[in-house]
Symmetry: D2
Subunit: 345 residues, 4 copies
């Protein structure tokens, strides 16, 4: 039984981590922290969790928590995460960080999109926690940078094509749509029910912080520097990301041929489902799970391939992938605690 | 490992049964039937289930299915259910029936609200599958009549008060609100997205078929004949029932005193959560689970008690309770396959 | 052309007033105020209004605004409203107040549910702005207390029965459900999209501030003191209130007889639609309008009548009714600016 | 006063036409037809319209209707529309057709995407009813082919760029998202509430029938043949289309420069709102109106321009534009009946 702590448990990523951990047979949650709700039972912060945990939110006391926990999930905003992670590492804990603080290899890129980095020496050590690409490194990692939600959906949707050099690297356009949990639980007018419901909008066009993370992974896959157009949108649903990805083919592969390449690439992946020709994914069919569903169409008229990739942003896009990484680090079966079927409807 | 079949697998109750059974360590699904989708893999009927089952929808062949399965879940409409259940029983199977066909003890009552009953001899044998009230009988049952969704929420909300004779039996008013999965997956204009979304309505006032089922259970609890006013409403959400129940107190108990009675009554029940004073339930906090959350307030001004009872209509109101009954019948831990925490948000 | 100002324009009631006023042929909006958005064009605060008004949000300067406007709509929270209304009256303006500050006749009742009243001398003068009950007084009023949303739906649903002494006064139970605009535009965790969406809950049981307002109107209609049970709920929709009202009949009227009484009572009312037998209202069918739809069923089994009354909480429950009152005060056709058909779907 | 008829009144386009016509001061609806609801008052088919029309659904009797109406709105599916339109024209009526039957100039293109055309001789005469592009022709038309919803959002979003030859014609990618009214009111499993709610999917990739219509208009604007990638998606909202459009710039214009071009192009258009730099459109801000909101960003890194164009699919995308065309044909002010502000929230 691995002892874990959740730092920053009162956001949507926190409650999703706890939901999944409550059913994980080899993880025991020994501490949850929340500045806002310090002293309150977690089952009161999230009535959904009532009866599942006998834990009270505490302040972040690294020494005390490190004495109890072997592995730390940090579900904090960027900047707050790097303020505690080096100390947890020094105290002997392993860390799966769900913030953006250790995802970018290049300190300058990080600092141009975020702010000064206080522990740049860890950037080289941190492993980017996308198991379908970096499984062997994750197993040996002390610090895993859990990927962003949009980048996860994009990397899995493009990996087989970039690895096979099947698309023109300067042609990639990514049109992504995310459920509202992606905006977090903070109090913003734009997150109010009546502002989101029955609405739909794009935001952060050509300026979203997930752009450099996407480009880092795609460049690594292609072996050359890639720049993309990335447009996120806000969906009036709780959960789910759907990325529609456009790229020009370098060959004339048919839909069936391309699907075959995807099927082979992901044959042994427990969480990727490549859909048969004629079927397209829907965020509703992966709800609550660590699954990524992928469909695609080759458009003969324009020579482009259009890939549609779908995940649950809170699960494969955050907490589920964090637990997948936890399993890998601890030598547990990768699917452990993550095998429940999607909740539909 | 118990071998089970799901008869009528292509509706919302069917997919929920399969979702729960996919994670049940002691159940193996050996057959699924669907008239509409005969010959289609169940993972194509419900893409959410892709990869979880290697089953193809078949027609209902009782002999063939009974040869493979020990226990049958019938997720058929009323009337269709009683057309196959006697034969499954004769073939040696046990049956958990999710339709209304065997819920009412009194054949005449059944026939006045539904139609002629073709196997009235089974009405006396069938056990009403509400474990919190009839656990010991369920354990020995051959045929369990799984309760309706509204009646489940009402019975659990009123049982402690009726058992303790704490309310006037002629004063009960039940105002219930159900998510749209309760309307089923059939093609009706009223079930279209644009007819339901951003709408809210009452329906079946003073004429809903769950009324006699509610009255049967409440009368049994009270030891006298009870008539209620019951008004169902359609909520623009997928899942969840919330019943707001009004009754006149026979004593002057305070909120705290009444909650104490509920706490004691449900202390050993794994699926009932009685909320502390000042807290009220929300359908969002039981989503996807077999839980029933109950809150209440004693209104000193009017002498009434107002109880709010909440379940997931597809789970504790249908498929979850069916599996709870399956566990009881088979001597499995009652919580088996039903312990996952609610999906919030 | 009447010159009007909207004090507190940046909430949902404010934007609804402006939406309706933009199409009102006899009203000209000369000022809008907002503390939060002072200096910002109203078409930037609400992009929906872009191009409809050439107004910038200003601070509340009573002298300046009174010099420009004849009639003031106050769309402020209670307490804030009574801080400015006496001064607007003294400056010669008429006022339609959408807050709760002048709705209750009895100062003590007000102060026990809200706080100390700073201008109690106006309580006797203020006219309760429910035209279907108090039309003649409204026409002559200087200060109209625009009714609350829940109380409007309840008063219209019960008026014919109480006027005709057709129900037992101690038997009234009101189960109301409101869209989320009713919770306002303030930043509260409970108003976030992901907290409301796919959820449903009761709140303020036996303690909601609209209770004394409801009881004041019903008592006046009945000619005797009435106490009710009133339970509000929060619906995951933007707009709409549906109140399901239960009462014991003093006679044995049938559904048809009761509907006939309602039809006669409301025959000349432009905004009340009494539905034919067998039809029940839906909030979706009054969206964006000043309509109140009413359906009912007499339940012979229990001797109760169940009335379902439906309005748009922002319109007939707030801004629409305020404009109806404005029309009456100014001698304009009552329907002016309020005749657009509902937006469905 | 112009006398009009709505052929095919029982769908979502039909009810939207009637909603708008109910408030149009110069249109009188003299007939509504519906095969499914023949003999039923339209206020019963759509309770929202109760009290607004004293009309009963009739069968399509061309002679009878043509004797009463001057202009016909056909809100029928393609194929059904061309079965009646020639006769209405022969009977001396003018026609605004909301189907796809007369939108494509080229009979072969029509027949390759739809089916055999039964009145191809009218294709040359029919005017494509996008007033911002073809206003003068519409004024003189006898038959107006009202544009599709997606094509409307795309044409308005790209017209200034194509007219100015500012983008590479082979680089256009259109990622569109539509509310569910776009799927119509027919009974399909995919249109059920529980299938759509909390879901999101792409459909018809590289094969949607609006593709040739889009390409026809864009080619005409550019003066050369254009092929696009067009991907529609289904949004869990009632109304609204948002199209995110990507194209490579031929120059290096900044966001401000491009917006300036749009502002000039649409300066006199009553229904197009070009948003200031830094602001992006939301479908919620045009709900219920004939408005098209457009925002854009020049992405210096990739040399692309990303345009976001938003309409209400039922209004500017169908019924509203039809009334705009009706106004033009009849010499009425183009804004007549279409000036109400958006319903927000």
């Amino acid at each position: 039984m691995e002892k874990v702590a959740v730092i920053g448990a009162s956001g949507y990523t926190g409650v999703e981590l706890l939901r999944l951990l409550s059913g994980h047979p080899q993880a025991e949650v020994v501490a949850v922290t929340s500045r806002q709700y310090e002293g309150m039972p977690i089952g009161r912060v999230f009535p959904s969790l009532g009866g599942y945990f006998d834990l009270v939110c505490e302040a972040v006391d690294i020494e005390s928590i490190a004495a109890r926990a072997d592995l730390i999930f940090t579900a904090l905003p960027h900047k707050s995460a790097m303020e505690v992670i080096p100390d947890f590492l020094n105290a002997g804990c392993k860390v799966v960080d769900l913030s953006a603080d250790y995802r970018l290899r290049d300190r300058q890129v990080y600092e141009s999109w975020y702010q000064t980095h206080s522990s740049p020496e860890l950037l080289a050590e941190a492993v980017y926690g996308l198991p379908e690409l970096y499984r062997s490194q994750i197993k040996k990692a002390r610090l895993v940078a859990n990927p962003g939600c949009y980048p996860t959906s994009v990397a899995l949707g493009l990996a087989p094509l970039l690895e096979g050099q099947l698309i023109a690297c300067d042609s990639i356009i990514i049109d992504s749509k995310s459920g509202t949990t992606g905006a977090g639980r903070g109090l913003k007018e734009a997150s109010l029910y009546c502002e989101v419901n029955e609405g739909f909008k794009a935001y952060g066009i050509a300026s979203h912080r997930h752009t450099p993370e996407i480009e880092q992974t795609l460049s690594q896959l292609a072996g050359e520097s890639i720049q993309v157009s990335f447009t996120p949108h806000l969906l009036p649903v709780d959960r789910g990301i759907l990325s529609t990805i456009y790229a020009s083919q370098t060959n004339d592969y048919s839909t069936a041929e391309l699907l075959d390449i995807f099927h082979k690439r992901y044959a042994d992946e427990p969480f990727v489902r490549v859909l048969p020709e004629g079927q397209l994914p829907n965020i509703a069919y992966v709800r609550g799970t660590n699954l990524c569903d992928i469909g695609l169409v080759a458009d003969e008229r324009t020579g482009r391939v259009i890939i549609v990739s779908v995940i649950d942003n809170l699960c494969k896009g955050a907490a589920g992938q964090a637990i997948q990484n936890f399993n890998l680090i601890c030598g547990i079966d990768e699917r452990c605690g993550l095998s429940a079927a999607p909740l539909f409807p």
